[in-house]
């Protein structure tokens, strides 16, 4: 026996923006209640592994190497969060039908993207903090925690997550996995993120200046470690990639069959 129906056509009022947005965030948090702490733990382990593990490759670690390893830890952690882990989570959500289901709910596509960016960004913070702490303990290095350095980390995180989302939304799962692996291996081994750019050919370095990964590490070194000059060009590249990632994610979600 149906006792009550909670609204009728005549009294229907669409929910307000904040309520909808918090609803999307809440749903995502509940869905990932076990994954989020695991994700943070993996980030923490990754940070410690880079600080202590990569140092083993070097015969001696001077001040410059210490800065590169420390900033590289944070940068690679951010890349791992956005371009690998967040991308895989969205890809799984796509396969599970969550993405298609969300498309039928009264939330804008932008709200879905921003909500997910916030969630995975927050989940990445423990790893970033632990990376900083590990660097301080291991290399006795000083961190310049300021509004600028925090803003740079937030922008970098958002950019990488948005790149990851756009890969996941647009590409089939197997291709997306391959690309995220290439980004991660490239970031760990071949990009001048954990070592100075002078060690790679000029042409390759010029190419890296247009990709978001090296400018991100430059910005983190310039603000959190103050080991180089802050570059607006780097900021422009990172912001541009963030906008490209957002635009591609938005167009993928807005696309109609």
């Amino acid at each position: 026996m149906v006792k009550k129906i909670h609204s009728t056509t005549l009294s229907f009022d669409p929910p307000n923006y904040i309520q909808r947005f918090t609803g999307v965030i809440w749903w995502s948090l509940v869905r990932h209640k076990y994954l989020l702490p695991t994700f943070s733990l993996v980030e923490i382990i990754l940070s410690i592994a880079i600080v202590y593990g990569l140092g083993l490759f070097l015969p001696s670690i001077g001040p410059q190497e210490a800065v590169y390893l420390s900033s590289g830890t944070i940068t690679i952690g951010i890349i791992a969060v956005g371009c690998v882990l967040a991308a895989q989570i969205i890809s799984t959500a796509k396969q599970d039908g969550i993405v298609n289901y969300q498309k039928t709910l009264p939330v804008s596509r932008g709200e879905i993207i921003i909500a997910d960016t916030i969630i995975w960004g927050v989940a990445a913070l423990p790893g970033i903090v632990m990376g900083g702490i590990a660097a301080v303990i291991r290399f006795k290095i000083h961190l310049y925690i300021s509004p600028t350095s925090i803003l740079v980390i937030i922008i970098s995180l958002a950019t990488m997550i948005l790149i990851g989302f756009s890969l996941a939304y647009w590409l089939p799962t197997n291709i997306m996995s391959l690309i995220t692996q290439v980004i991660m291996i490239g970031g760990l081994l071949f990009s001048p993120i954990t070592y100075p750019a002078s060690r790679i050919p000029d042409l390759l370095y010029a190419l890296y200046q247009f990709l978001p990964f090296v400018p991100t590490s430059d910005l983190i070194r310039a603000t959190l470690f103050k080991s180089s000059q802050f570059s607006w060009a780097d900021m422009f590249v990172v912001l541009s990639w963030g906008l490209i990632g957002y635009g591609l994610s938005l167009s993928a979600l807005s696309r109609k069959e």
């Binding site: 149906v2 009550k4 129906i5 909670h6 609803g23 869905r31 599970d96």
Partner: protein
């Protein structure tokens, strides 16, 4: 202001026009009415729902409600429509309660009303005892009922359901249809895609039959019921071939080759003579089994489609 949902000349093709999912579909859906959308697999039912919902864009035509074009303003469509998908709503990692609550929050149920709303729906659908079970551990039927509950929590004016009673047990199927009736009584527009013709006949107000992307039938189920009662089907099994010349007057006879099975479609006036002939057949031990019933819906349906 007209409050019906109108689709006008909707066409949708896939694979560069090789597949015509919908062809010039013009139908109105009215508040207070349960409309069943039936047809074979691939007839274009789900495509039509998705176009109304705004997730599939028609190649031509219009979809309007209260002067709003759902094709141009798909954000409005999402506010005014809730759709239960053909496959289960995503429930991995969330309990039944959390799944309903998530959609309730997004659709604007206040914190104070939330628990009451969820408990009420769970009570109505008789799924209370599974409220705190994770979705992936629920049976297919319970997952579908959860998906149904997610659709009807804070119901907007238009509700679209894609096969809502599939996998659901017979008792709760009736509950689902009763719930739909209550929603219709509250002036919601209800559109249900289903293959279950008996449920259509019994619970829907109107049915639209799609065949190869086109509307081939659109009428009230009261007419359908009358049509079904206006003729009968006499099914006979014999132990040897019957003399076809002696079969009484009928609308149509279908003989299954080799199986000695006869399906005789009769008008109500033709029934007495047919029974006389049937009794003779039983006496002479030629007829071993028979049944007489109102003309079945599935045979009528087959006659209306290419199936």
């Amino acid at each position: 202001m007209v409050t019906s949902l109108s689709t006008y000349s909707i066409s949708k093709n896939y694979k560069h026009g090789r597949i015509n999912a919908n062809k010039n579909i013009t139908v109105d859906f009215s508040p207070g009415e349960i409309t069943a959308l039936t047809g074979h697999n691939g007839a274009g039912k789900t495509t039509l729902l998705k176009q109304i919902m705004g997730v599939v864009k028609p190649d031509s035509g219009s979809i309007t409600y209260r002067g709003i074009s759902f094709i141009r303003e798909s954000n409005k469509a999402r506010e005014l429509i809730a759709m239960m998908p053909q496959f289960h709503a995503p429930l991995v990692g969330v309990t039944l309660r959390q799944a309903i609550e998530a959609v309730g929050k997004i659709r604007g149920i206040s914190h104070l009303e939330m628990n009451e709303s969820i408990d009420q729906i769970a009570h109505d659908l008789k799924i209370e005892k599974w409220l705190n079970i994770p979705g992936q551990k629920l049976s297919g039927g319970l997952q579908r009922l959860t998906s149904f509950a997610m659709t009807v929590v804070a119901p907007p004016p238009i509700l679209l359901f894609d096969e809502p009673t599939n996998d659901v047990d017979p008792v709760r199927r009736i509950i689902v249809w009763e719930y739909l009736r209550k929603l219709a009584n509250n002036d919601h527009i209800i559109v249900v895609v289903t293959h279950n013709l008996f449920e259509v006949e019994r619970y829907a107000d109107r049915y639209i039959l799609l065949n190869e992307g086109k509307v081939t039938q659109d009428e009230h189920t009261s007419i359908l019921r009358k049509e079904l009662l206006s003729s009968s089907l006499l099914s006979i099994t014999s132990n040897k071939p019957l003399d076809e010349a002696k079969i009484p007057d009928n609308l149509n006879t279908n003989i299954k080759d080799g199986a000695l099975e006869y399906s005789i479609h009769l008008t109500n006036d033709q029934i007495p003579k047919a029974i006389e002939w049937l009794l003779q057949g039983i006496k002479s031990n030629k007829i071993t089994h028979y049944s007489l019933s109102p003309f079945p819906l599935d045979m009528l349906y087959r006659g209306l489609t290419d199936g």
